[in-house]
Assembly symmetry: C2
Homo-oligomer: 522 residues x 2
Amino acid sequence: MSIQKLENQVIVRNEKFIETAEQLKPQLHETIVKPSSIVEIKADSNVIHGWKSEAVAPASSLADSEYGKNGSFVLDFGDHQVGYLTIKIRSAGSPPDAPLKLKLTIGEMPVEMAEPFENYSGWLSSSWLQEETIFVDVFPAVISLPRRYSFRYVKFDVIDTSPKYRVVFESVECKAVTSANINAVQKISHQDEELQKIDEISIKTLADCMQDVFEDGPKRDRRLWLGDLRLQALANYQTFGTNDLVKRCLYLFAGVPDDKGKVPANVFVAPQLIADDTYLFDYSLFFAASLHDYYFATSDLETLKELWPTAYRQVELALERLDENKILKDTPDWWSFIDWQEGLNKQAPSQAVLIYTMKQAIRLAEELNAAEKDSLKDRLAEIEEATKTYLWDEKQQFFISGSDCQVSWASQIWMVLAGVLTKEENKKLMKRLLAENPAVGIATPYMYHHLIEALLVSGEKELAIAEMKNYWGGMIQDGADTFWELYDPKNKDFSPYGSHLINSYCHAWSCTPTYLIRKYDL
Amino acid sequence: MSIQKLENQVIVRNEKFIETAEQLKPQLHETIVKPSSIVEIKADSNVIHGWKSEAVAPASSLADSEYGKNGSFVLDFGDHQVGYLTIKIRSAGSPPDAPLKLKLTIGEMPVEMAEPFENYSGWLSSSWLQEETIFVDVFPAVISLPRRYSFRYVKFDVIDTSPKYRVVFESVECKAVTSANINAVQKISHQDEELQKIDEISIKTLADCMQDVFEDGPKRDRRLWLGDLRLQALANYQTFGTNDLVKRCLYLFAGVPDDKGKVPANVFVAPQLIADDTYLFDYSLFFAASLHDYYFATSDLETLKELWPTAYRQVELALERLDENKILKDTPDWWSFIDWQEGLNKQAPSQAVLIYTMKQAIRLAEELNAAEKDSLKDRLAEIEEATKTYLWDEKQQFFISGSDCQVSWASQIWMVLAGVLTKEENKKLMKRLLAENPAVGIATPYMYHHLIEALLVSGEKELAIAEMKNYWGGMIQDGADTFWELYDPKNKDFSPYGSHLINSYCHAWSCTPTYLIRKYDL
């Protein structure tokens, strides 16, 4: 145990946990993938972002062409890839008497090939846009780019050669990487082709996010977030069963709590384990939820015993936020994620997350026959009672949140998942929610997951399938090879970052349909 | 011996010569150089190109500053460098949650820091402009850039970090490289400070061009040219005495003649020895001149014996161009370099180069007591006679060139160097040249070298010194750390390439004043 005082936080490093996590670092599985086609990117106002790709030649014909100054082409790898590019280039004509200046633009979606990154003005760092400008001084050259990319398309722009020579791209290939045990997946043959496709793309999405850790998105952030981990782990148990990677991630979080014992919302793993200075009310609690799910998927009692104090501590810390009525204080100094939905008040959904997690913590305490079991149950009873008293609006028949008594989708969904009401009441609540459609809706696949699961636990399987098809099926119709970080069927150009160029088009929190389909037998 | 049929040429590889050259590949001497200052580049219409650098802080203070998005600074290494950059970067603030995108602009002159490369529209490849855009994913980072640069200044533009962190440049250094044996130089303490300075900068220029081979310029071309080699070798004998490098270069050229035995104007040495498909009348002949100079500097008879056939062959091939009057045919299908001077007719100066080289070849044949000796002498006598008959204009008292009877500086200079007239006549001719100043002048330091040497061999030492001071001294006054590829005191923005950004500001053919000062005891 060592204490690290940083600019904005104090970290109490548990070296034993960190070492356990290090031991579990996975070997990545590597696959060499060749591009399938040379494509043209064409404007089309009927498709998402206004750009589509059209194959014009097989990629095998690439080496037949010579490219000089201002030469350009786009390669399509046929599916989403996460990995490393290697490019073999030779010269044609006179001996090369100047370097080659080559620009590569690497993207998940046709729009990234079409709209110049130079024009990007979103609020996330432009450094996430995947591009490289390289100089080649000697030919023939084998260029193995050291950075990992997340992509389907690669645009090659020959900025300059010299009037005396041209270049030929003899081969381009991707060494795709994942830590997912692809072969372990039990294939399903779903009668419903759309659900079958949704299941497959969910699995591909998850695989591409599984690297050294469960990353949120391989293109942007590339980082282990607790809330995202929880959903990825659920999907993993139903598919790859690469459970040691979940264990590794739990130990990483448990390795770097702050001086109060709180785990961070996310961690970095390079050059070594670093806790981010972001703490989210719900994400910290999801440590307990993730440990719960891990234990019931693996029966790994040893890990449960070792990490239980960390999990319990998150609940304790969360309980400190309750006011005298046992309701979470809604002050400006806290941050609970819940969803990107603009204007969403976080009080009621966070109260529900607390209840949801306490129930899981109690089940873990029971497994361990831990001392905290009974007090947790007592506190839970009080809190559930208070929740119904103060957050349930009898007149509107909805849960309300914050001083403005906001009625949001997120509040109802999380209260259903938390099981505050009976199954019958939940069912009514969910139907009422869909019928009345309150203005404060849901913004992300992350929250859509919770919507679907809330429908399922209330017994509304048909509605759940319909919502899933509408949302994830919609992404497929709009060209998804992997599921996207963000998707608003009513506003397909939406980005909370000010530009759809920076959106992640392979995002872990969108991979859950495979979990929902397989767990609830959809 | 192996024959290589290429797109535009047939090469007869002499593997024994190539192996000899390979064995002589030099070990580079490495020196770590730190920047001296952080500078600002300021507009100033009184200085060359309109830009000057002004120190604003010692480079040692660099690590005290944090740079975020759009942060920028310029480092000055205090003198011209050829080498490799290493940059140590750490982050400041929250853990870095996005890559750093960093643009480096690397230049020999302040103008390269000030005028955006994007606006370059010259006719040489823009890929010569020294810049890199790099992404750093993990901090702290030690970035060792793999390419070699030729520079004094480096501009750092932080394109983006993220709102959560900034970067600190903990150190920047250059591993400077040369194959010159710097310690072997005999220092001179010239009474004339200006000549002393010209000598020093000549030596620095030569050292920075001495790498695996004698390069023409370390920033652009970076290649072994025969005409440039001849001058570098002359300067080298007077200074570093790194004579094995000259030997290596002679064997490289002799290793890849074409099927007629002609040596190319230049060769590439990476990834292996490649003859360029450019052949220049004068440059091929300079093989004989360079072998002559090498032999008389080293007395290396073995090399002379081995390379004599190659040298003699260049003369034989040149003689094939003579017409029935023993004058070089001036048809559109040949290319003799002589100078970049626009409109220059190459006939007479090339005729002079032929005579100049034949005289050297005869001296070599005498050393070897070679069979070709007498026939060479006979041919030479005829050619000198013909030159005076057909190319000397008695009325104008100038040599004339081409069907338009052009009177150029280059024709007079080379005829003087070739010794076609007596010393007294040469003296008169040079004075007449300076007085009458024909319109077709001289454009490059390469041709200025020949002007100065022509004045010296005609006994006009004072005039030679005055011209040297005017030209090379002018470069120093205009801020040269090393001597430039191009300098026109009357038009300082001149570039034959359409942009002074692409000019080379450390160029081998400009290094000869040290040879002239030391050989002629100026």
